[in-house]
Subunit: 403 residues, 2 copies
């Protein structure tokens, strides 16, 4: 059975994702599509609009055969760790290829960029270091680094943030899993960070914005979403009483930071360079998450980096724990969130040969990474009503969704 | 100016408290009544029904001239530390006497008990130790200890829990502040832990129960409360949108415990003997605070002890921090919550001679104990709306209430 992996967040699963999944399947000539998906928190350090189970359900209906959870510790990270966790797990799952969406649809341009980077790594590093020392945030420093080593015309342009994730998948593949083929398909409607919803393919950002503002399904959103996504979104809102966003968690975050000493705050993953003092100083006067983040932001600390750090504080990711867990390569397990009949057959075919445990019964498995996952789930569901919370916390240890 | 101290919680200030304050003033022939009061959390490990500022206002209207905050770390403790913090602070404030309510109104009976205990301390200790080793909780073990050294007929009966607090005030006074006279007045309507409200003098427990159940002022409650207490209770409910009780905090507590590793939980004051594992195990399946506490309770862990420990987890009292702070005798400062004209004059008369700082401008004073107080306030107010929370957190550093 030929398999193809995709790295996704599906927050929520929309028409663009559906298109990417279908095109990837075709392009890879795959029988089985394996999606590795961020769980309840996302790469940008945000809680997902609906939980991982509902997003899994939408993904299965949209054509994914296996949905694997990208562990919280890899999901809420900059692109290097994010790609490392995702690509290595997919490789351990035995995928023949990994296919991502890009703005030019040409894999050669990514391979050329990789070659070029390999040749100019030192110059790049030196430039980035220089700008970091000048107080620039990492994304800006690395953009200037890419600029300094001017890429050849056939290569993708790494000064464009949209290319960075795809590039880091390719880099991971070529470095750690050369047996897996990197593939890319042309992305329909490029601007995936667009704030405004429009047409049938819109960015997840714009769809979330529309949904959260209206606090209800709208005509515009419905146009961009497969019917099954509309269904799970509505189901979640009716049964859990909400769609999630950072503001819902602000009282917990404020409570946690205000009842902690600086020395304890410093133990969380991402709280470096004296950020603990800034956190304590700014939290007192903030009435909303947006206010808090705005007051924290500096040239050095980007919005996304701060959001990720706050997610790690919310969940309670210990710095030392993170360091030890991230040292493990490949990731210690692959946890199945959902599967189709094809996915089931695929799992049976690889389960014996896989080098890492593939978890379908989490209650029978223990690992510090899975403990952290349970803490992330606990944090995520802590804004629900008590009864729902208890149910959701039980769900965390139960079997995958079967389509 | 002759002064008399009282140790109080005023949760809320009711007719029984008013009577005690008036009788104490008369009995002590005092010009100035100084109340040391638990802040936002109480000795039994519960959040106060309304905050310390509103309770202070009611106390000032009821005849207190100075209201001093018993620091959180002393307030949420068993009777030994509670009395130590309260009595020593009052002694540092230069009170001539301390007057408490009792069931027989005879101070001699407390003095006799103290003498008797002094003579039988070893036998008492040995008995208590024995029962503790058998797995009894401390209150039960000490009751059996008192039983073993049978008190003479003129002495109070320490097997009665109602006598324990008064006794520990006397013990503190005779041991640490022999210059201060211990006094007692007869308590009107003895049963101060009564659950049912009745008549004009009812227990604070029964009044809270009535108020929290009705979520409104009732005729029965109004009968037991001075008009000013009715006013502050109503004012608080209108402006802060609630009266506080443990259930309001359960989602925060559950969130905190579920996003912490056992090794971190173990660092909180009161989490001993492997309680961290029990906490983690029981919290998952609990939908309410009451459910959680019921599932935690054993012969060894009493309801009150567990409640106190949970309050320390909620607030984030570090074990090592508590150990260091509790070693300081007398307590490091006396923070004024409110004062009358008489109180103001009294303060002026003692301020220069007092051995500990008397704080009326907390923003100009730093101490780890005051930091912990701010954390307790942050935890207490974290159930309010964002705007109210921010205001209340500012209030924490402002000047006392002046009547």
């Amino acid at each position: 059975m030929k398999s193809c992996g995709v790295v996704v967040e599906y927050n929520p699963f929309h028409n663009g994702h559906l298109y990417h999944l279908e095109q990837s399947k075709k392009h890879a000539e795959a029988d089985c599509m394996i999606a590795i998906m961020s769980g309840n928190f996302l790469q940008r350090g945000e809680p997902a609009i609906i939980d991982k189970w509902h997003r899994t359900e939408a993904a299965l209906h949209g054509g994914a055969d296996l949905v694997i959870e990208l562990p919280f510790l890899y999901a809420v990270q900059h692109s290097d760790f994010f790609s490392q966790g995702a690509v290595q797990t997919l490789a351990e799952m035995g995928v023949d290829s990994i296919c991502f969406g890009s703005e030019n649809g040409r894999i050669e341009s990514f391979l050329e960029a990789f070659d070029h980077m390999n040749k100019h790594q030192e110059e790049f590093n030196a430039t980035v270091r220089m700008y970091l020392n000048e107080g620039y945030a990492y994304p800006e420093a690395s953009r200037l680094g890419y600029e300094a080593i001017s890429f050849p015309s056939g290569s993708i342009d790494l000064t464009q943030p949209n290319n960075i994730l795809g590039y880091s998948y390719v880099k991971q593949l070529l470095t750690y899993a050369p047996e897996v083929e990197p593939l890319t398909v042309l992305r329909k409607n490029n601007h995936y960070h667009d704030e405004e919803i429009s047409g049938q393919i819109s960015s997840a950002t714009s769809i979330r914005k529309e949904l959260l503002q209206a606090e209800a399904m709208t005509e515009k959103s419905e146009l961009c979403l497969p019917p099954q996504t509309v269904k799970v979104l509505q189901h979640y809102q009716i049964h859990q009483g909400r769609w999630h966003n950072w503001e819902d968690y602000f009282h917990l975050l404020q409570y946690k930071i205000m009842t902690m000493e600086e020395s304890t705050l410093r133990c969380f993953h991402g709280v470096d360079e004296g950020l603990e003092y800034r956190l304590k100083r700014m939290i007192k006067a903030s009435a909303t998450f947006h206010e808090f983040l705005s007051s924290l932001k500096t040239k050095r600390y980007t919005w996304t980096r701060l959001q990720r750090t706050l997610a790690h504080i919310l969940v309670g990711t210990d710095k030392e724990e993170a360091r030890i867990l991230l040292r493990e390569t490949p990731p210690p397990y692959a946890r199945v969130l959902g599967l189709s009949e094809t996915g089931k057959r695929y799992l049976r075919s690889i389960k014996k040969e896989a080098d890492i445990p593939i978890i379908t019964q989490p209650q029978q498995f223990t690992h510090d990474m899975l403990d952290l996952e349970a803490r992330a789930a606990a944090a995520y569901y802590s804004v629900l009503s008590p009864k729902q919370r208890v149910n959701k916390l039980k769900r965390e240890y139960e079997a995958p969704i079967i389509l």
